[in-house]
């Protein structure tokens, strides 16, 4: 766990700012870009809270996969609308770029063990990677195996439903 006020306040400011921008920008593409930044910033929160595994999952699923799905939906559904120009986009891109640069610099510093002295780590709960993976595995496959199987079944039903709708069409539904 990283208990650094600088990282916390910067990440808090960014996540709230991007969330508000995402809600109040009129163009859906800019709103989606801000939402991506919110999801990445949330993964930074997870990392600072000591859950690196959740941070990676959040960054991969919410930061990459979910925006791709939303982007495809935007492409399929709003192609006829005119693109709205916004002066907020350069500011959003600048803040996003700065966030990424800071995150990468920090990760590189941590990996090279060159973190400044002000970056003090809490020593109340420290796990090595083997313990984390073993606890996650035990939780998913033993303690919460029914929830895991239910989620897998739900995914299978959704894929089967999509396939059925694609094959049969939606004319009956209309």
């Amino acid at each position: 766990m990283i208990n650094n006020p600088i990282i916390f306040y910067i990440a808090s400011f960014l996540i709230i700012t991007f969330a508000l921008c995402s809600m109040f920008l009129k163009n859906i593409i800019y709103s989606l870009l801000c939402a991506i930044m919110v999801f990445f910033t949330a993964s930074i929160f997870f990392y600072t809270l000591g859950s690196e595994y959740n941070a990676i999952i959040q960054a991969v699923i919410y930061g990459i996969a979910v925006p791709v799905i939303i982007g495809l939906s935007v492409m399929f559904t709003t192609g006829k609308n005119k693109t709205q120009k916004s002066s907020v986009l350069p500011l959003v891109l600048a803040i996003g770029t700065a966030l990424f640069v800071m995150a990468f610099v920090y990760v590189i510093m941590i990996s090279l063990a060159m973190s400044p002295d002000s970056f003090h780590f809490m020593d109340i709960q420290q796990f090595n990677s083997y313990d984390v993976i073993s606890e996650f595995t035990r939780g998913i496959f033993i303690d919460y195996v029914w929830a895991f199987e239910l989620l897998s079944l739900l995914l299978t039903i959704i894929i089967a439903g999509f396939t059925m709708l694609k094959i049969k069409g939606v004319h009956k539904w209309k």
């Binding site: 808090s12 996540i15 809600m23 949330a42 929160f45 809270l49 709960q125 939780g139 989620l151 959704i158």
Partner: protein
Amino acid sequence: MEITMYHYLSVGLILFLTGIIGSIISKNVIKVLIAIEFMLTGININFITFATYCGNDKFDGYIIALFYVGLGAVELATALYIFYLMFQKKESDNMESYTEL
């Protein structure tokens, strides 16, 4: 200055409230779905905060947050597909156009 549990909970609460307000005031269907994802992200921050600060010997909060991420992605994919199917009929992305399933 030390960051406590309440700082993280406050951020999660603000994100959750932003999602609620956005889902109420937004007229675009996709924006409403993004707002719902914000709410789920705020809940996830709270889960992981409680798991970190209130003892996580079994990593329960982390694992539940993991399930929430999976369920959120599934919910979003389903909702977007339903929206796409309805868009073919309605030709509109305004929430007020979708008063019936």
